[in-house]
């Protein structure tokens, strides 16, 4: 189980005791702290995205059905996706959640305020919220729904990333769902447990070079108000239900900065840290399967979308080719790979490692959960490697579509006729190789780090690492084969 609530009930894990280097951004850039403390900060960063989102929906419903001539496809699935996965995730943690327009209307309905804070009492908080304020069922307080939701959407990825209407419908449904859930459930239940984007952001935020943390955990433990999670007249109760005194991973912190506003002890700061070194503990099967699903989807997308095999594209392209048998095989194959085959291979490597290390004092479950961290940096960097050709080859569509966002023949910026022009496509493999090697490096390093926490005997540690490390090498070589082999 991986819930924000669990953070409140579990002891502080040992791994946070040995913090690597970190740099206090707010201490060095006080103006940035002042900026995020402004009540209007989040609204101001959401506002442009809200406008763009509105434009995207219009384009999706009323613009041209040809994807590469419609702004919703080009800006979302080429530009936004690349910035999200290659820039925001590694260097900004869940910065996207700070500016995401999807939960905006839900927050508005729940708070009946866009900028201001309302003091009062609602279950578990010192703010006045509106709606039914129900608790989300405990058995669903994990990311399994996000896992299955993302896998389900990925089954229709060939439609989602090429059909403006499909993208618009999906985003429309998500925004309505977020608003509806905010009226029924407390806080950001949609973001925590439903949003399919949030699921993988939570996983890959672990690697990020930034973190929002309390400066001194002792101050948090002695704090009597717990304003970060309960709210105050200065800030809303954490929408993600996170208590800063025990926050030790980026996974479920949506960087809304409400805690920075509400903390009476001025004890919250933004820190820089090295890539993929701090949050190295997966804490539930839901998170492990998320890591497997994301890695295998990167693999599947690389085969289906970037591969040369037309029959596979036809299988995935169900609404045009109507090959239901083929689509069934594709959907079942992808789900089987992500949910069964790869997790089974990973499990096998763990059992082998445990056997070779004669590690009878460490349970297979613990080893399985902890060693799965190696899949996190590998998965993120595999996704980045997958995304590089998307932006390099199809990035020129951004220039033409910016001038004719709906594909109606407008020429707002004078660039509507800008030709499709791949940017140094022959050099893409030379970018993909170091990215994948970095994934392998950080995966192996993570493996050693979590292993060091499990084993006191270095020989046991070393032996237990070998089979999963070989599996990681196999994954790397497979991606290399797809991209450059």
């Amino acid at each position: 189980m991986a819930t924000a609530e669990r953070i409140l009930t579990e002891p502080v894990p040992q791994e946070i005791e040995k913090k690597p280097w970190r740099f206090d951004v707010f201490a060095h850039l006080p103006w940035l702290k002042g900026l995020v403390r402004m009540r209007s900060f989040q609204f101001l960063v959401i506002l442009p995205n809200l406008f763009l989102f509105y434009l995207f929906l219009i384009a999706g419903f009323f613009g041209t059905p040809i994807g590469n001539r419609n702004i919703i496809i080009v800006f979302v699935w080429i530009l936004w996706w690349f910035v999200l996965i290659a820039v925001m995730m590694p260097f900004g943690s869940r910065l996207w959640c700070t500016m995401c327009p999807l939960p905006f209307f839900g927050d508005w309905l729940q708070r009946r305020s866009v900028v201001g804070v309302r003091s009062g009492k609602s279950p578990g908080t010192l703010n006045k919220f509106f709606g039914l304020q129900k608790r989300w069922p405990k058995r669903l307080s994990n990311i399994w729904l996000q896992n299955f939701g993302f896998l389900f959407l990925a089954t229709f990825s060939a439609l989602l990333v090429t059909r403006p209407l499909v993208s618009a419908i999906v985003f429309g449904v998500l925004i309505l769902l977020a608003a509806g859930m905010a009226l029924v459930y407390r806080l950001r239940t949609f973001c925590n447990y439903i949003c399919p984007i949030s699921g993988f952001l939570s996983l890959y935020a672990m690697t990020s070079t930034v973190e929002l943390r309390s400066a001194d955990k002792e101050v948090c433990l002695k704090c009597t108000t717990k304003s970060c999670i309960r709210g105050s007249d200065k800030g809303w109760a954490c929408p993600w239900n996170v208590y800063m005194g025990k926050l030790d991973r980026n996974n479920y912190c949506g960087l809304c900065f409400e805690c920075v506003k509400s903390c009476p002890n001025d004890n919250i700061s933004l820190y820089l840290r090295p890539f993929s070194t701090s949050d190295v503990a997966l804490r539930g099967y839901d998170e492990v399967w998320k890591a497997c699903i994301m890695l295998m989807l990167a693999f599947s997308y690389s085969i289906v979308l970037l591969g040369p095999w037309g029959w596979l594209k036809d299988w995935a392209n169900i609404s045009e080719k109507h090959n239901w048998g083929g689509f069934g095989m594709f959907a079942a194959g992808q789900a089987l790979l992500a949910l069964v085959i790869f997790p089974a291979l990973f499990y096998l490597s763990i059992r082998l490692g445990k056997w070779y290390a004669r590690a009878d004092d460490v349970s297979t479950k613990e080893l399985f959960l902890k060693y799965a961290y190696m899949l996190v940096p590998m998965g993120l960097l595999a996704w980045i490697a997958f995304s590089v050709p998307l932006i390099m080859v199809n990035g020129s569509y951004i220039v033409s579509v910016a001038s004719d966002p709906l594909g109606w023949g407008m020429n707002l910026l004078g660039t509507a006729e800008f030709p499709w022009k791949p940017l140094w496509p022959q050099w893409v493999p030379f970018a993909q190789v170091p990215i994948l090697l970095a994934g392998l490096y950080f995966g192996l390093r993570g493996l050693h780090k979590v292993g060091s926490q499990l084993f006191k005997d270095p020989t046991q540690l070393f032996r237990s690492m070998i089979p999963p490390a070989v599996l990681l090498l196999g994954v790397t070589v497979l991606f290399l084969k797809l991209f450059i082999g």
Binding site: W309, G310, F462, G485
Partner: protein, 173 residues
């Protein structure tokens, strides 16, 4: 200086480089005599047939391009070649994108596969929903980049294991 040479990171770097070198050498002696290859590529929504072309460096490739259903493009990265084909046409139109200019009608285009590696040919004319993903692969052997990269990966794994091995951490068994 001695400390630097003894450093585990130097050892790691050496093993990685050796792995890359071994990978490179694995394909370095792949010396097939150049030959002429005549290949017809048929484009249809959203693939090329054949999807993958495997040739040797130095081969002269004679391409004949055909469109089966709608007008398609053919943009071969790394070889400065772009074409467009219309259905039911025996001829097609070719240009060199870096030089710009107009397309020239031909019934065959030829070039020497002088650059080794994997290169994609992509559709350059919007042909339908999945157009941005319509592509094939030209693999010019020896593919040094691939073999070197696999060698580097293996070197990285071995190097990391050497760094992590118990004796290198100063622990007596």
């Amino acid at each position: 200086m001695k400390h630097l040479i003894d450093s585990k990171y130097v050892r790691l770097a050496v093993v990685i480089v050796l792995g890359g070198l071994a990978g490179f050498l694995f394909t370095a002696f792949h010396l097939a005599p150049p030959q002429d290859r005549s290949i017809t590529i048929t484009a249809h929504k959203y693939a090329y047939d054949p999807p993958v072309l495997q040739v040797n460096r130095g081969d002269r490739i004679h391409l004949h391009l055909v469109a089966q259903d709608v007008t398609h493009g053919f943009y071969l990265e790394g070889y400065n070649l772009e074409a467009k084909m219309r259905p039911e046409n025996d001829t097609f139109w070719v240009r060199h994108p870096s030089q710009g200019g107009d397309f020239e009608e031909v019934d065959e285009v030829s070039f020497v596969a002088s650059r080794p590696g994997k290169f994609r040919y992509r559709c350059s004319i919007t042909c339908g929903y999945m157009h941005p993903f319509m592509q094939g692969e030209l693999i010019v052997r020896p593919n040094h980049l691939f073999s070197t990269s696999v060698g580097l990966s293996m070197g990285l794994l071995l190097g990391m294991l050497l760094v992590f091995r118990p004796s290198s951490q100063g622990v007596k068994k």
